[in-house]
Symmetry: C2
Subunit: 213 residues, 2 copies
Amino acid sequence: MSTQRGLLIILSGPSGVGKGTVREAVFDNENCNYIYSVSATTRSSRPGEVNGEDYFFISREEFENLIEKDALLEYAEYVGNYYGTPLAYIEENLQAGRDVFLEIEVQGARKVRERMPEGIFIFLAPPSFKELETRLTDRGTDSQAVIMERMERAREEIEMMKDYDYVVVNDYVPNAVSKINAIIECEHLKVERIVDRIQQDIQDYFVEGAESR
Amino acid sequence: MSTQRGLLIILSGPSGVGKGTVREAVFDNENCNYIYSVSATTRSSRPGEVNGEDYFFISREEFENLIEKDALLEYAEYVGNYYGTPLAYIEENLQAGRDVFLEIEVQGARKVRERMPEGIFIFLAPPSFKELETRLTDRGTDSQAVIMERMERAREEIEMMKDYDYVVVNDYVPNAVSKINAIIECEHLKVERIVDRIQQDIQDYFVEGAESR
């Protein structure tokens, strides 16, 4: 019996919605058997960060080499450093039948979708826009003008929601986690992912079984 | 905010796979809030059976009237009695936002699919054909020849699996129930079922919010 290919799960959503918190809670669950997609970056590691766990820390030359070889699912440059998603790591795990979990902002998710439309795209939405504003305000890091800008951007980002497969409202982190797990469980039960295995079983029963009867 | 339309969930699968047991276990869960689709029949009620709960017990004339008015999602005649699924009961509950659960044999499910392709079709499969044979044998009601006939029919019925949305392997009833619940939860999270609600929230925030700011 061949291994069922793993699923690529992409969790995205507007800034401030709590993607990172939800992703951490997904992985905090001791029964979680998803593989976290580790990003590559050219920035230096910070104290406590582990290579291959928090990031793959690589040189600028190595990164540009990956770009050239088309070996990144997506990448972007922020403040002089590259950040990207190595394709090989994802592909190896998917082939081994492991589900790979990617948490990424909306622009990155769009690039991933172009490249791997078979991914399961989950949009994390705020309970309401009013609530998103409250969360951004409570952070205390942004001025009212910046918050209004972020709200406008959230509005644009939510327009992209239509290209996703699922929407999970982040009303309460454990709820969001349980919904994400239900989505992944359910996707594995889709008929096209199971039909081959059952056909094989029928074959075994009627052909080999007939021989032994 | 308008109510999200309920889902029609159809559980089907070959004879002997345990559809009835799994359906009962789904409804035994105290948190279960699905509506069980009650069938109509022309057979007499048996002691303990409750009209409108086990079946809608109706006369032959009433039943044929329903057929004529195209008011049944599907129906069949067994041993001189009609059995069918009244459409009105399902439609009322779906419109009220309630999920309706239908447990039905494979032929009936095919008719339901023609009529309501938007339903969620779940195929309950045996862990293996060998195991299905064991279960049919353990019932002790059928001769070896009848069992082999049933196995052949199961093979044909499993061919129809491809028209379903999901496959749940009935290896262990609580597992099957938990998978069915995950499927229903997940289906509610599909973007097309949520997008309108979020668009409305954006509208409320940016239009009404702007007025109050």
